[in-house]
Symmetry: C2
Subunit: 294 residues, 2 copies
């Protein structure tokens, strides 16, 4: 956008004054944050030549997001998610270390109620969906086994609901387990299916206005911890799903986290000889690599 030198001077002077207003901040890190926020916010306004009506529309949007937010519904988290701000924050803090497994968003559905299961146990707790055998190993970035890592997993049922969204108090679709001496783990879960984030508020309206879907790519959550290693919060995604790449509404997908799920016809023998009564099932493998702590 062409501006005259005088116009450019006025715009730059205003930004300088706002930056200067934070100069007396006693907390140097807070000062850095506020000054950087100011620089980027002003650069955005200048670049797009924001109109006053657009500024008011943005303020109305935030006001609407505030109105729908309560103890159960957090529209500002959704906003951060659909703008990729949540995932960018995860990414800058999940420093790339060799082959360490990439992190993704925690999401709002983790609870403290995951029951303990044996290796090979079933996390579904009666939730509906196609049985899914998951197995893999936990190693460090040198390839050495990490024995006894704690693995917590959780997921939605095939209607797109986590247990906390059920009308009753049932615990389903979540569990904790401990990997074996050689860092191996295995369990039965449900094949992940796509589901939408809440889209009946301002964020949903925005997604419709820009032609985006609220649907999340089908995924299974993992949280993996082991002494001396960085805590890993991640998902695995179903290869071939429609919402991979830029199609996941919160941008949680990393290509390295997309896994083949090999669907098996009914009657195919299961790895642990479990009798599934002739129903089809699927299987996947997720080898986890933990970064060192710090």
């Amino acid at each position: 956008m062409d501006t005259t030198p005088e116009q450019a001077r006025r715009e730059a002077e205003l930004t300088s004054r706002v930056l200067e207003s934070f100069a007396a901040c006693q907390d140097p890190h807070l000062r850095l944050l506020m000054q950087a926020l100011t620089r980027h916010l002003h650069a955005f306004i200048r670049e797009v030549r924001l109109s006053e009506d657009e500024l008011y529309a943005a303020i109305e949007f935030l006001t609407g997001a505030g109105r729908i937010t309560d103890d159960e519904r957090q529209e500002f988290v959704l906003l951060s998610d659909v703008l990729g701000a949540s995932m960018q924050t995860i990414t800058v803090n999940d420093r790339a270390v060799g082959a360490a497994t990439e992190a993704t968003v925690l999401g709002p559905f983790r609870t403290e109620r995951a029951p303990e299961i044996e290796l090979g146990g079933d996390i579904s707790g009666g939730a509906s969906g196609m049985p899914c055998w998951v197995e893999g190993s936990v190693t460090d970035v040198q390839g050495g086994a990490v024995p006894h890592a704690r693995i917590e997993v959780w997921e939605a049922d095939d209607q797109g609901c986590y247990d906390v969204q059920y009308a009753d108090d049932r615990v389903a679709g979540r569990a904790c387990m401990t990997a074996d001496d050689a860092g191996r783990y295995r369990f039965w879960a449900l094949k992940p299916t796509p589901y939408p984030i809440p889209d009946d508020g301002p964020v949903g309206m925005m997604l419709r206005a820009v032609g985006r879907s609220p649907v999340r790519a089908p995924h299974l959550h993992f949280m993996v911890t082991a002494p001396g290693h960085r805590r890993l919060v991640t998902h695995i995604f179903v290869e071939g799903a429609d919402q991979l790449g830029s199609g996941d509404s919160v941008f949680g997908v990393r290509d390295s986290l997309v896994k083949a799920f090999e669907d098996q016809p009914g009657g195919t023998p299961t790895p642990d000889c479990r009798d599934l009564g002739g129903q089809p099932w699927t299987r996947t493998r997720f080898d986890i690599v933990l970064a060192p702590e710090g």
Copy 2:
């Protein structure tokens, strides 16, 4: 901040995916706005290496702003104001044209209730403060008189209150008038005094955290309209006040809008021979230059 090439690739790829998610937007200007917002937001997060706790704190801040906002209180406007976003938006839309008077923020206190006064009349409506004679001219950027411009003015009393903040329904500290054939105007007002923006919410908490004052530089609001000319919304500020430059909490001050107010001892004859009962008064001059329309 040093990042490895792989780390930088992951961060950039994420931003690309978010940008790509807006590609299907049918409204090209909305697409431009959302993609620019994404670029600047992600650049901020990457530059400051935003921590997850800081992101949560920002979400909590917005949630608190939403909670305090209602039909009377607009915390998101205050936030836009104290970050200079409101004033930067004004500035990009108030294209510099020759000597045309600079615009500043409208503020929340303009109403439709300004009474009509004759030139030389008193806008105070009984509000308290030091009487202040204001006079000037309205010209175009070629220096030609703009006859019969409509001039609306409004201000707080010397307790920092606008009439809409009074407990009763009184109209005070505001008026409309029409400049004469030669574009001249004059009226009695009150000498402006500093006052704080509302600071009992999240925005006030933020200002305290960074060592900033909520006080606005003392000012008198003007809205000036004339056919064929761009509407001017501005203030004049009192020279020598403590809150000029970067000290005004909403960054409304432009150096060109700072005017000398010449205080007069009690008993000094007034320009229109008005009898002020021996009290001190002040005077200022504001020559208004209107830009052409469009």
